[in-house]
């Protein structure tokens, strides 16, 4: 039986045990003389949890361990029959066996065919064992629990424990996923730094990963100094923040402090529409509308503007971030207590004076946090810069020139046919690690700054 069928079956089992247990508890409570310690539904939930979760866990374990076990068994088999095979060859034969057994390729070697046959037999035996044990566990536990409902035992407390474990496991899964992502990033980066010196990467002024067009082409060893790329990222993010910060903050102030309810009801959803535009749309807006426009203005002013300028990408990215900043800031400004505003207004301050001198200083820690989050977002943003910023890594802070960003380089290094042990491909992981470290530092600063400042203001 397949994974999903089994899962559906044990869910069905547990629902049955839920209804059976709760109705049996209901009957017992009705005829009981003493006060029961929990409601019928708690007995139901208790037996549902026991019917579902152990069997589910067993199912997961079998699904993960089973094939690994079979693979290992067959690797041993192959090694025994063909003593001359090395590790890579064994892997290859195993892959072949697997492919034959699920019918995607065929072979005319009788030895391989026999092994493939054995493989599928073995696997189906494992799966049969999985089906039987999971169903057995689920049904036995379900029957035992639901036929032994004791209303004097407080199952409410036990259900509580189950919930606690459930929530804890979810949190742990989230953490492990993060750890896994970071670990894979670190692992690939370390492979890169084994091929290329760490400090040359970190402080190098020249970025030219010269991708070979043909595999036999003798390409020059690429140069992987990340500073121009990092500088480009910072430049574009800075331009984005110069656009987004004042507009976002001021519109938040307007919405929170000045706008009447009617105006607010119109402007707020409109700003949220901006947040709903896919970044790829922003990207071609930047590439097809903003960049030529800026180039034209530059030309009338006698400036030499590149057709893929940092300014265009940054400005459009800024527009994308406006709703992010304005809605965060709006919430933060609204959380400043009304009593502070009243105090200031009661002294004869105007609304603007109150906002600038009382409300904003009180909201400042939260606002700093919001801005740094927005910066991290600008730095990690990919689609707009892929479409509107260039590919050539210029070490420049001139916003009218073409720059490239970390994300753009990662995309261009990893798209298309890539060899995953090539230095050019691996350098993308180095960039990814640098980007991750950079935004992590920013987020930590945001956290520390807002915590330190809010201590001061509380």
């Amino acid at each position: 039986m397949s994974f999903s069928t089994l899962l559906l079956l044990i869910i069905a089992f547990s629902l049955c045990s839920f209804f059976f247990s709760s109705s049996s508890a209901f009957k017992k409570i009705k005829s009981a003389t003493s006060r029961p310690s929990a409601l019928p539904k708690h007995y139901g939930q208790y037996s549902l949890a026991w019917t579902l979760f152990p069997a589910f866990l067993l199912l997961i374990v079998f699904t993960i361990i089973g094939p690994i076990y079979v693979d290992n068994f067959f690797k041993q088999q192959i090694a025994l029959t063909e003593a001359s095979y090395d590790k890579a060859k064994i892997e290859l034969v195993l892959a072949m066996i697997k492919n034959i057994s699920n019918g995607s390729i065929s072979s005319d070697e009788p030895k391989i065919l026999k092994l493939a046959d054995e493989y599928s037999n073995y696997l189906s035996k494992i799966y049969l064992f999985r089906t039987l044990s999971v169903l057995l566990l689920s049904s036995i536990l379900g029957i035992i629990i639901s036929s032994n409902i004791n209303i004097l035992k407080n199952s409410r407390v036990k259900v509580e424990t189950f919930y606690r474990i459930l929530f804890f496991v979810s949190a742990v899964i989230a953490i492990f996923t993060t750890v896994g992502i970071i670990a894979s990033l670190l692992y690939e980066s370390l492979r890169f730094f084994a091929l290329y010196p760490f400090f040359d990467f970190l402080f190098g002024l020249h970025w030219a990963p010269n991708i070979a067009i043909r595999s036999d082409q003798v390409a020059a060893q690429g140069s992987f100094g990340m500073l121009p790329v990092l500088l480009g990222t910072i430049l574009v993010a800075l331009i984005a923040m110069i656009v987004a910060l004042p507009i976002g903050l001021f519109s938040a102030i307007y919405l929170a402090e000045f706008a009447s309810k009617r105006v607010r009801d119109i402007i707020k959803p409109t700003l949220e529409v901006l947040a709903g535009i896919p970044t790829v749309v922003y990207g071609y807006f930047a590439a097809l509308t903003a960049a030529p426009f800026i180039r034209k203005i530059g030309m009338t002013l006698g400036l030499d503007v590149s057709s893929e300028s940092a300014l265009a990408a940054g400005a459009v990215m800024g527009i994308m971030i406006i709703p992010f900043i304005s809605s965060l800031s709006d919430d933060i400004i609204n959380s400043v207590p009304q009593s502070l505003r009243d105090g200031s207004l009661g002294l004869g301050a105007t609304k603007a004076e109150t906002t600038i001198k009382v409300v904003l200083p009180a909201a400042f820690p939260g606002l700093v946090g919001a801005f740094l989050l927005a910066v991290s977002r600008a730095i990690g943003e990919t689609m707009i810069v892929v479409m509107a910023a260039g590919l050539s890594a210029n070490l420049t802070i001139n916003p009218l020139e073409t720059v490239t960003t970390v994300t753009v380089q990662i995309v261009s290094l990893l798209t298309g046919d890539t060899e995953f042990d090539d230095i050019k491909t691996l350098s993308a992981f180095g960039l990814g690690l640098a980007l991750f470290a950079f935004t992590l530092i920013l987020n930590v600063i945001a956290l520390v700054v807002s915590r330190r400042l809010s201590e001061q203001y509380d």
Binding site: G346, G348, K357
Partner: protein
């Protein structure tokens, strides 16, 4: 003393306030004497705070609030178009129920109003003003060595006196107090009451209070509100000993409220 006729600071005529379509107070006419303490008492929701907030147009802040009738401050209608509510509030200061010092230093809290109104042009003048205001608020000895500390770190009673000092610093004619002691303990309350008595020599004070004892202790005149109506207004001793209205009698003897 009883026969002495004081100048009138506020004259109000038929003041009604609506929040949307709900009427909060109904045709209140009440004259308030200069340099006296006038107490507004009554059960919760009787409209006394609403009335108080009309006197410096703090109700303007509430979007669906509308005020009818006439309120004259020194003979000028404060709801006429020529009156700037911002300037009015500099003249009619306010102290709120919950102490609400700004999350700034003690000095900056007091200097906030003067700075906004351009009083005290240089640092020395401003420092004098801050010291003077704190002195008037009876707080100078407690805080003079730590003017740069954050005001929100003070005790509740001190915070409330900071708020009073802050209001005094802009040199108002009138100070409105909206239940200034309801969040304070008895000792802090006693200090504030003492302060009110001394301030009434130079300022007109109007206080909303839930505590009848407080009204009896500090005020010269008392107005009793009930369900948005002004039931009775007169000399405080008279209100508390021989009120004309049965409702007032019931309230001050604790039969409802």
């Amino acid at each position: 003393m009883v026969d002495k006729k004081n100048n009138l600071k506020f004259k109000t005529k038929n003041v009604s306030v609506f929040y949307g379509s709900k009427q909060a107070i109904n045709k209140i006419s009440l004259d308030i004497e200069e340099k006296q303490i006038t107490a507004l008492i009554g059960p919760s929701g009787c409209g006394k705070s609403t009335f108080l907030r009309c006197l410096n147009r703090m109700n303007d802040v509430i979007s669906n609030c509308s005020v009818n009738g006439k309120i004259l401050l020194d003979g000028n209608n404060i709801y006429s178009d020529e009156i700037d509510p911002v300037l009015l509030r500099a003249k009619v200061g306010m102290v709120f129920q919950k102490p609400n010092p700004f999350p700034k230093s003690i000095f900056e809290n007091i200097a906030y109003g003067p700075r906004i109104h351009g009083i005290g042009n240089n640092r020395a003048e401003l420092t004098d003003l801050v010291h003077h205001s704190l002195e008037q608020a009876g707080l100078i000895d407690e805080v003079k060595d730590r003017l740069d500390d954050i005001a929100t770190g003070l005790s509740g009673g001190q915070q409330q006196r900071i708020c009073i000092a802050r209001a005094i610093a802009v040199n108002p004619d009138v100070i409105l107090m909206d239940e200034p002691c309801s969040a304070l303990d008895p000792i802090a309350t006693a200090k504030i009451e003492e302060l009110m008595s001394s301030l009434s020599k130079s300022y007109t004070i109007i206080i909303v209070t839930h505590s009848m004892q407080q009204a009896g202790r500090v005020s010269q005149k008392t107005a009793f509100f009930h369900m948005g109506d002004l039931i009775e207004y007169g000399e405080t001793p008279k209100i508390f000993t021989q009120p004309d209205q049965q409702k007032t009698q019931d309230y001050i003897t604790g039969r409802f409220g």
